[in-house]
Each structure stands twice: as structure tokens, then as C-alpha cells.
Amino acid sequence: MIRPASEAELAEAVRAAHGPISVRGGGTRGPLPAGEALTTSGLTGITLHDPAALTLVARAGTPVEEIEAALAEANQRLAFEPMDHRGLLGTTGTPTIGGVVAANVSGPRRMQVGAARDHLLGLRFVDGEGTIVKNGGRVMKNVTGYDLARLVAGSRGALGVITEVALKVLPGTETCANLVARGLDDAAAVRAMSAALGTPFEVSGAAHDPHAEGGPRTVLRIEGFAPSVAYRCKALAERLAPHGDWEIETDREAVLAEWRGIRDVAPFHGEQGDVWRVSVRPSQAADLVARAGAKRAFYDWGGGLIWLLTAEGDDLRAKLGRYDGHATLLRATPETHAKLHTLQPEPLALQALTRGLRETFDPRGILAA
């Protein structure tokens, strides 16, 4: 395993590589591509935290928990609440901030505040030729030159190895509460969540578990200053009365635990089968789930994100047909990954652009992704 201790060493290692290299952060996101292993775990440390500017800069291998702890001390947080894949994928290791950005890993609050890529202010990376490139910066507004930072974020290492990221952080929340409705069918739950997200009450989480213990459970999260949370919970429950009976839950620990579970797809932990992550427009979500014929389904992002547990080897994309969105195979055997492809195949014109970008940033084709 190559474990560079600095960006310069990492660049040198990429330049010196002859065959494919398999880049990893904490190794928590399941099977890694074949090739010589290269880890960013030697590049650690928060290099800047400026609370008044809502900015944090850290080296790629810095554990997410270290960043969250440092932010918590200043009553700040990563607002996109990155998912921890370990429970769902049965992996060990420690999630790193570089891995989070490289895979654009976001949690339930994504629909309100944006994804990991939306909080990215800039980054440094080493391309497939071993050239060190910086893009963006550490300030909130920056349109100087092309936005390569967003292109590299979410590229899963295909365009380069991220060595440092600058992120926008947000204030922590004083209080949180849940509004819960029981027994809604999927279509009714999505309609209720859409209605909630169309109010000015700043719902920061909207999820629906059709198979929850005791029957379907639809849950909406409200966060902020205590008087504001109380006001919005009450106003929202009244507004949503046509969509069901809503109970307000205010036990902070219970609310936090439930959203950690939603973030990490806890309902699927330990269940047999393949796991798919499907991004859709919410109004089509319930129909798509009906079409999928999955063993279990679970809705986040107000219906904009569907988690599906299917029989092993099931070709979900064939069942879903054409729709506005895409499906990622997150958990399956290597054979199924190879047969069905991890990422949604793109139309030909986009494939050409993707191929062109990969070839230009990695002409030797050594960045396995």
C-alpha cells in the first residue's frame, strides 16, 4: 500500500506508477477497484478553521469525526450531514473528508441546504499525470475560472486524487424536533412531504419508511432556535392536517438518533440483498417504487431519494425503465457490480464527454474508478 505523507509525495507516487492505482480514503464505501492501493490516510489535519468566515480547510485524509468534533467546539457543523456507509456496507475503517467530497456523500439535509459539492469552496488534487492542481479557494463567493472543484467532487477519483478541501460550514442547531405521521401509504406520504417542503417552515429532513415497526412512519425534521422550532412545529402540523395526524416529538436524543438512522439507511442494516440508491423527482417516487418490486423501500429527501433493497442480481434499472433521475448500485457482489454497472449508464453524448475528461486528466488510464 502506498501511503504518501505529503501532497508532493502523492504526486510523485502517481507519476511513478506504471499500472492502475486504486485510491482510497477510509475505505468505508465497499469494494475498491483493482490496482495498487494508494491511501490518503497519511494526509491529515485541519489546516484552517475560521468560525467567523464559516470556513474550514482540511487535508483529504482527515477523519470526518475529527472535523465534526472541531466544528462542534465552535458550535458549527457540516450542514450536509455526510452519511456513514459502514453499517450499510458492513465495512470497517474511518470515513475521511476527502472520501466524502470525492463521492459527494450527503445526508437527509441535502434537500434543504445542498449536497457536499454545494459546500465545497475549493480543493487541491493530483491528476493522473501527477500534476498538482488547485481550484476554487476558501471564500464563499468565487467565480474565478472554471469550477473544477465541483467536477472533481463526486468523480470518485476518476479525474484525480483529492489532497485538500475547503468547505463552507454552518452554525449548529440549538433545538430540533420531529413531526411524525403513521400509516400513510407511499403516495400519500410523498404528497405530505411535498406539502411540508412547500411551506416556509424550513423543514430540514423529510423521510418515509413504509416498513417501520408498527406501520409506515413519515417523519419531518424542524431545527433552529427553541421558540422558532416550537412555532414552526405547531404551524406545520396545522398546515398538514389534511395529510394526516401529526405528532410532535421533542426528545433531542431520540430525534438525533432517528436522523442518524435515516442518514445511514439503518432499516437495511443486516438485511440480505442488493442496495440501490435512486435519485428521482419526488412526484414520480411512489410509482417507481411500485415498479421496482423491491424487497424493501425507504424514502429520504421528501421522496427525491429512494433506497431499495432488491433480490441479489436483480436488474433494477430494467424494471424502472425511463424516468427523470438515476440509480446507483451501492451494495452487491463484485459479479453483480460488473454485470449491472455501479453507475447509471449515460446517454452517448454524455459518455463521450465523460470519456474525454477522463482521458485528458488521466491520459495513461491509471486512475481506476
Binding site: 471564500v139 463567493k141 467565480v143 423527482r281 453507475l343 465523460t354
Partner: protein, 476 residues
């Protein structure tokens, strides 16, 4: 500022190019009479002008595709244009280029409040996107000051921001999908009404690429429910340090205002003379706006006012109703007009880390003395996006050049303290030759490689963003 000399071969075949474009667009879609092309000789950066070879105004994505295919075959550069409000010269033509304007494409294609999206043709103006969903209780968040006139096409090209991006983000955070025509006429769909990319985040790099990767003809935008209410509070301070510390403490306290605006004394005085908003005569004025229900607003304002008082303000005024709110905003919103009344000015757009504010203001003051040109500062303090206005006399020989030199020094200063050349206006031609201050050659090379992939012939807006000597050899 240099532009490449026009290609004589292209100039010589103007009639042929015009004829081929007319064949695919009809006579109505092509403007080639020099008396009429003159209307497209510049954008809002009026210091630089050059009429284009001709102008095309397609009405559909198919027509954009057909026009681009002709230009691609004829090897003619194309300069895409939204409403022509760029302050950076993003839509400045060269004499051998075709201006492709999207102004005829301004329809709303779909509104879905359940999915919280609107799909529009990109010639539509920013404010009219909000206009289309306002009665349904929604709005489109990015709000550049030119929002009455500027087009979504230009907003996407420049990744435009606005006063409210501390809370709502800029264009890239509110853009879900596009229909884009590549230079060779290929039409591609990226994203849609769903969130995030399934593969590479192409949308992310297209947004902010200044019309160099393709022509975006349709866009799916995120719309948000309108807040219940919003009110500003105004506070005056006797030093930039006190105002800067106040901003820092507000943010550190966990309050996230939707806007924090800052004006310095020259700007306050000009606005006061112009708009009579009742601003105190002080060194620094802050306007902080919060949103929510009446109770939520007063709770947040109480927190902010408590912090504000700790920094020894000259004056504090919290709006109690929408009339008082309008009066507080009046001066700020007329800042650019007010300055224009008393002087010619150049508006800069660098961003700095908020914590560097007092130091940067001090050094801008020193530069002002050194060059003998006045500066008024008005900017978005929450996100560090500065808008220093350098005052000069356009009729005085050498003043514009002096002003540009001083502007470059201020932008170098922004980069030096950890910021950037442009926060929301874009590079265009205006900041093109300063790109090497912020980026190493490898950084620019990586960006140009993306253009190589999308536009191998470098025909789309080729003389922008990258210093000419850096893009030499790539441009035709």
C-alpha cells in the same frame, strides 16, 4: 486590454456566413447590417466595444443547434449573449465573431410546486422567473442586482450570486438541469428535476464556464417557498474594525442572516445625498436582514441587536414594518446609481475572507491615496464579496488607465489575503489578464483542458477567461 486581431479569412466570407445562417434561421433571426449590429458592440462593460460580424437570434434549441453547426463548419467564433448585462465583458464580440443571443427564448416550460422546480428557456430574465412562481408562494433565490434585466443564460454562464447567497447559495446551488448545445450542434441534456449527478458533475463545471463550453438553452431551477416575512436592522459604527467584529460575532453566535451589507463613509454620504434614507454619517454602516414569522424575526433581531450594542454603535435602527424596511434598503439599493450621479466609477468584485476585512479596507485606503483616486466601498459582508467603486473622470486623459491599474492592485490584494479576483461578476475580458495572479500555469492548464474536451476548436467565446498568451496555440 488586448483582443485578438480579427481573422481576415472570416471577414472576407461574411456574405457566405450570413447566407448560410439565414438559410437555417430565416431573415428574422439574423442581423448583419452594420447599423444594427452596433447595438451588440458591448455589454455593461462599456469601456470596450467592437461590432460583431453578425448577430443571430434563434428561437428554439433546434435553431441554436443549426446556427452553431454552421459556425462550426465555417470555423467562425461564437460569442453567446444573454441580456448583455455583464460587467466583465463576457459578451464582448470580436469583429470576426457571431453573437448568439438567446433573448427570443424566454418561455416558461414547466412549473411544479410539488417538486419545487421551474423549467425555463434561458433568455428569460432572472426576476421574471420569480415572477412566474410568486403567486404560488415561491421564489427563485439567486438575486444579482441586475435581476430586472439579466438573463438566466448569463446567470448560468457566470454562476451569478446576489445579496442573499449567505443563506441560499449562488446559481450553481440552485441549478438542477440544463439543455445545452455544444459547438458542433450536438444537443445534450444534463440533470433534470432530480438532485445530484449520476456520473461526473458536468452541470457543476458548465455553470460558471462563461459561455465557453456550450450554449445553455433551457434550465431546470430549484424554487423555494417564500419566507413569511423579512426585516432589516441598520447599524452605524465609527470604525471598520468595530463593524467587522460585529459581523464576525453575529455569525459566530449561530444566527444566519439572509443578508449582511456593508457601506463605508464615501458610499454612505453619496447614498444619503441621493436617496435621503436617513443614514448616519459614520465610518461603516451595516444592514442585516433576517427572515421568518414576526416572532422569529424579533427573536433573531434581539440577538443581533444585543451583539451590535456590544461594539459601541453610533446608531441602531431596527425596522418595525415594511415601510421602515424599505427606507433602510433604499440607500443601499441606490448605491450604484448614487455613485454614478457624482462620478464615473469602476466596480470591482473581489472576494476576501471576512476576517481580513479591516486590513483590506485600510490598504484600499492607502491605494486610494497613492493613486489619488477616491474609493467608495459597498459589499456583501456576510460572504466577503467586496464591491469597491473606484471613482475617476472618463474625460480626463489617463484617468481610466490609472483606475484600471489601481483596480488590479486591489484585486491582487484580495488574492494575497486568501481571496479571489471575482466573486460574482466573472472573469470575462476584464480580469482575464490577472488570472495568473490567482492561478499557477498548471491550474489554468487544467481548466483549459476541460474546454479542449467540450469545444476542441476553441470557437466558443475564445478570447475570454484565459490570458491570451496562455490560450495561444489553442485558439484558432
Amino acid at each position: 486590454m488586448q483582443m485578438p486581431s480579427p481573422d481576415a479569412k472570416i471577414m472576407a466570407k461574411k456574405a457566405q456566413v450570413v447566407q448560410r445562417l439565414t438559410e437555417v434561421l430565416g431573415a428574422r433571426g439574423v442581423i448583419h447590417d452594420p447599423a444594427e449590429t452596433r447595438a451588440y458592440e458591448c455589454d455593461a462593460l462599456t469601456a470596450y466595444r467592437c461590432p460583431p460580424l453578425c448577430v443571430v437570434l434563434p428561437a428554439t434549441t433546434e435553431e441554436v443547434s443549426a446556427a452553431l453547426r454552421v459556425c462550426h463548419e465555417e470555423n467562425v467564433p461564437v460569442v453567446p449573449r444573454g441580456s448583455g448585462t455583464s460587467l466583465a465583458g463576457g459578451a464582448l464580440p470580436t469583429a470576426d465573431s457571431v453573437i448568439l443571443g438567446v433573448s427570443r427564448m424566454n418561455r416558461v416550460l414547466e412549473i411544479d410546486t410539488d417538486d419545487r422546480i421551474i423549467r425555463v428557456q434561458t433568455g428569460r430574465t432572472n426576476l421574471s422567473v420569480t415572477g412566474a412562481v410568486e403567486e404560488l408562494g415561491f421564489f427563485y433565490a439567486p438575486d444579482p442586482s441586475s435581476q430586472l434585466a439579466c438573463a438566466i443564460a448569463g446567470n448560468i454562464a457566470m454562476n451569478s450570486g446576489g445579496a442573499h447567497c449567505l443563506k441560499y447559495g449562488v446559481t450553481t446551488n440552485n441549478l438542477l438541469g440544463v439543455t445545452m448545445v455544444q459547438m458542433d450542434g450536438t444537443v445534450i441534456e444534463i440533470g433534470g428535476a432530480h438532485m445530484d449527478a449520476g456520473g461526473l458533475d458536468l452541470l457543476g463545471v458548465i455553470c460558471g464556464s462563461e459561455g465557453q463550453l456550450g450554449v445553455v438553452t433551457e434550465a431546470t431551477l430549484r424554487i423555494l417557498p417564500k419566507p413569511e416575512g423579512a426585516l432589516p436592522v441598520m447599524m452605524g459604527y465609527d470604525s471598520a474594525e468595530a463593524a467587522g467584529a460585529c459581523v464576525a460575532d453575529i455569525i459566530k453566535a449561530g444566527v444566519l442572516p439572509v443578508a449582511i451589507e456593508y457601506m463605508d463613509r464615501p458610499c454612505i454620504r453619496a447614498c444619503e445625498a441621493f436617496a435621503k434614507a436617513g443614514y448616519p454619517d459614520c465610518e461603516a454602516l451595516l444592514i442585516v436582514e433576517v427572515e421568518g414569522s414576526a416572532d422569529e424575526i424579533s427573536y433573531q433581531l434581539d440577538t443581533i441587536l444585543k451583539i451590535a450594542r456590544d461594539h459601541d454603535p453610533v446608531e441602531i435602527r431596527a425596522a418595525q414594518d415594511s415601510d421602515e424596511a424599505a427606507r433602510i434598503w433604499l440607500g443601499r439599493k441606490s448605491a450604484f446609481g448614487a455613485m454614478g450621479q457624482i462620478n464615473d466609477y469602476m466596480c470591482l468584485d473581489g472576494t476576501i475572507p471576512v476576517s481580513a476585512l479591516p486590513e483590506v479596507l485600510k490598504r484600499i485606503g492607502e491605494l486610494s491615496d497613492q493613486y489619488g483616486l477616491g474609493v467608495a466601498n459597498v459589499f456583501h459582508a456576510g460572504d466577503g464579496n467586496m464591491h469597491p467603486l473606484i471613482l475617476f473622470d472618463a474625460n480626463k486623459e489617463g484617468d481610466l488607465e490609472k483606475c484600471e491599474e489601481m483596480g488590479a492592485d486591489i484585486l491582487r490584494l484580495c488574492v494575497e489575503v486568501g481571496g479571489c479576483l471575482t466573486g460574482e461578476h466573472g472573469v470575462g475580458v476584464e480580469k482575464r489578464d490577472l488570472m495568473s495572479v490567482q492561478f499557477a500555469r498548471e491550474d489554468l492548464e487544467a481548466q483549459m483542458k476541460v474546454k479542449d474536451v467540450f469545444d476542441p476548436k476553441w470557437l466558443l467565446n475564445p478570447a475570454k477567461v484565459f490570458p491570451l498568451d496562455v490560450s495561444e496555440g489553442r485558439r484558432a
